[in-house]
């Protein structure tokens, strides 16, 4: 017989047989396998149903009970965030001291002493190195505290229970309960939140989680929120209330972010992602005592350093770009000044300004360097002396009042402040996150959607607030 023929014959027979065995074939095979699995397990597994998993069952009842479930969840997550915020302060300051205050001048001097041309020290040290130093010192400590704590909760087995509890809320907006986790992760870092969306195995819900992650106010944006709220919102009321008001404003923005992420999830699941495949499954693994040291190591390597590395890769060139636009002159003005002049009318129209727009464009690698960039650019355009380090050199001031004075000299009003807070919540993800989204979805389309959707929302919201503000003024 011809070889080809008999192969064809097999396939044809298979096709005919398929009509006969019908659609339920897969079901039947699975049933057969599990019948055998159950038989074997019965023989070899020795357990006492009453005693097995006694502790597990107790914890599970505790964390899903109507009375204790929510308080436990709230307290644990609040504790994680609180420890992150408090714990990161000191090491952040230390790193900034080392990299920015101490090493930067040393390296610079060293380079200059070798007679390195000014543009090279400017480009590499004032630009690239300094941006890198900022990113590392601001980003590393909170992530190094937040991620291990999160991973310990994860390894213990608690996080699947959070998804389990939160699913009823997320189901209503067409999302998966595990999105509660990716969202919380996003408060640490959006890129990490996007990676965490891997645990959602349903394609549609995973995309929703990835696209909406940007609405979790990440670590890099909290300082911006706090600073601007203190300067512009706190001063709207008498001094004794200002602390309270500015804190509430920041919390309001964070809550608004959560609300928006739910709203956008709903929108996406009803429109763009309507037909994407969706299948819910969630397993609640047994609790296991976490191995602290191993967790520390792996979460540092897998999450913190991984994300930090990506951020650094983007920060260095961005630092160079920041230095270049502030130092290359076309005619009498630097590129930055020309852009700011050009973008200012539009910026002011939507209640922001040209400096903010430029800062958000060139500080795309990390939200952490937005405020330093804004300060540097404001000084450049206003021509203030005695502060800052020169054009293209990022800096931050320890004194809030001084910062306020610079910004006010730059023409900032309460409207600018409020809109900046909102824009900081709703703008394109940082380049690290965009790159991560592309890596995870492998789709240009969804990367573009997750980039453009928030910025379109941000511009729209700022526009309407600016118009209404002026109408009421």
């Amino acid at each position: 017989m011809d070889i080809k023929n008999s192969k064809e014959n097999i396939l044809n027979t298979a096709e005919k047989l398929r009509w006969e065995v019908g659609e339920d074939f897969h079901d039947n095979v699975m049933e057969t396998i599990y019948t055998d699995a159950a038989r074997i397990a019965d023989i070899v597994v020795i357990k006492d149903n009453k005693k097995a998993f006694h502790l597990d069952r107790f914890i599970d009842r505790l964390v899903t009970s109507k009375w204790t479930g929510f308080p436990i969840m709230f307290l644990l997550l609040a504790l994680v965030f609180w420890l992150t915020v408090i714990g990161a302060n000191y090491p952040s300051g230390l790193l900034a001291n080392i990299f920015v205050d101490f090493l930067y001048p040393v390296i610079r001097q060293y380079a200059v002493s070798f007679g390195t041309p000014l543009w090279i020290t400017g480009l590499l040290i004032d630009g690239g190195y300094l941006a890198l130093a900022w990113v590392v010192s601001v980003m590393l400590p909170p992530m190094a505290i937040f991620f291990p704590m999160f991973t310990i909760l994860e390894d213990f087995g608690y996080l699947p229970r959070v998804s389990f509890n939160m699913d009823s809320l997320y189901r209503k907006v067409g999302a998966h309960g595990k999105q509660a986790l990716t969202m919380s992760m996003g408060f640490g870092c959006n890129a990490a939140g996007v990676i965490a969306a891997r645990v959602i195995d349903s394609p549609r819900e995973k995309l929703i989680a990835i696209i909406t992650n940007n609405f979790s106010l990440c670590n890099g944006r909290w300082p911006t929120q706090i600073l601007i709220a203190t300067i512009f919102v706190g001063t709207l009321v008498p001094a004794e209330y200002s602390g309270l008001l500015s804190a509430s404003a920041v919390i309001f923005v964070a809550l608004l972010g959560i609300g928006l992420s739910l709203l956008v999830s709903l929108f996406l699941s009803r429109t763009m992602l309507k037909g994407e495949p969706s299948a819910f499954s969630l397993e609640l693994p047994p609790y296991r005592p976490p191995k602290i040291l191993q967790t520390l190591y792996t979460s540092l390597v897998d999450r913190t350093l991984f994300v930090l590395w990506r951020a650094m890769v983007f920060a260095f060139p961005a630092g160079m770009v920041i230095w270049l636009v502030s130092n290359i002159n076309v005619g009498n003005n630097t590129v930055a000044e020309i852009f700011i002049d050009w973008a200012d009318p539009f910026g002011l129209f939507i209640g922001l300004n040209g400096v903010i727009l430029l800062a958000y464009i060139i500080a795309i690698p990390a939200n952490e360097i937005v405020i330093p960039t804004i300060l540097m650019l404001t000084i450049m355009v206003t021509g203030i002396h005695n502060v800052g380090e020169g054009s293209g050199v990022l800096f931050e001031l320890s004194d809030v009042n001084e910062t306020a004075n610079i910004l006010k000299a730059g023409g900032w009003t309460a409207l600018t402040g409020i809109n900046l807070m909102l824009f900081s919540l709703m703008h394109n993800p940082c380049s690290t996150t965009i790159y991560t989204i592309y890596k995870e979805t492998k789709s240009l389309k969804w990367t573009l959607v997750s980039t453009i959707l928030p910025i379109a929302m941000g511009l729209t919201v700022c526009f309407f607030i600016a118009q209404i503000w002026r109408l009421l003024e």
Binding site: K7, N28, T35, V44, I46, E154, P285
Partner: protein, 266 residues
């Protein structure tokens, strides 16, 4: 059998085991590592290779295929950590990667890592793997957790039922790893002959279809070790298997089995 006290002693293996990390040159044997998600598969992988893949109490951690190496008694082994899956029949990308490697990658032995606390559920994947390959070892991991939860496993009965070596392990504590290595060596050198469990309870009407195809497959590809599994896949309309029959790629699964081995009941 070369079963002198020394080589079977765990302490012996401890000394001769070299964790080679990602040094993958010139390996003598290929070991596949399969298992459900969240069974500590990565921990087993790490303790064999000395690498540090992230492990976590979450399904679906290991996303890509990871490779590492170790050497044991002068032989070099490449070990491939397959994505954690619940099944090999549901046609997700992960399952395809795992399935294809076991079927076409011809590992010299496949270690199936299962969770001792959830054995019944994990046996699903084990049984499916035994339908595809003859050379397998069952590593019942997380025994420490099982004991803490008052569960015990009768490994002798399990080994008798499945026809493959069964190792009770607790990879986090390093427990069972020497025995696992010993079994790997036993299976690849042919010192232990697997006589794997095959599904018995297929309903009669389905069995008719399966047997008919199985016979045709064996006539066309003599010596095909997993003809029944291929027949099952054909009846599920698996395009990859259909294609591999069309272009004859499926016959590559026969080569490794060509040496006739005497079946020995263990």
């Amino acid at each position: 059998m070369a079963d002198d006290k020394c080589t079977s002693c765990p302490a012996f293996n401890r000394k001769s085991l070299k964790k080679l990390g990602i040094n993958l040159d010139n390996t003598d044997f290929v070991v596949a590592l399969a298992g459900n998600p969240n069974t500590g598969k990565s921990t087993v992988f790490n303790s064999l290779t000395g690498l540090r893949q992230h492990t976590g109490n979450w399904p679906g951690k290991t996303v890509a295929r990871a490779e590492g190496a170790f050497s044991l008694n002068e032989k070099k082994y490449k070990i491939v950590d397959l994505p954690g899956t619940y099944s090999l029949l549901s046609a997700s990308t992960d399952e395809e990667i795992a399935r294809n490697f076991i079927l076409f990658g011809q590992p010299d032995v496949t270690i199936v890592v299962v969770d001792a606390t959830r054995l019944e559920r994990n046996l699903n994947l084990t049984i499916q793997i035994l339908e595809i390959t003859d050379k397998a070892i069952l590593c019942v991991n997380l025994m420490d957790e099982a004991r803490r939860n008052k569960i015990d496993i009768d490994s002798r009965s399990l080994s008798r039922e499945l026809g493959i070596p069964v190792i009770l392990a607790s990879a986090r504590q390093g427990e069972g790893i020497p025995e696992l290595l010993q079994s790997v060596e036993d299976v690849v050198t042919g010192r232990f002959l697997c006589n794997p469990f095959r599904l018995k309870n297929i309903s009669s009407e389905l069995n008719y279809a399966v047997e008919k195809l199985e016979k045709m497959l064996i006539a066309e590809f003599p010596g095909m070790p997993n003809a029944r599994w291929v027949a099952l896949r054909l009846l599920e309309g698996d395009q990859q298997i259909i294609d591999s029959i069309k272009n004859g790629e499926i016959s590559s699964v026969i080569k490794q089995q060509i040496i006739p081995e005497p079946k020995v009941e263990n």
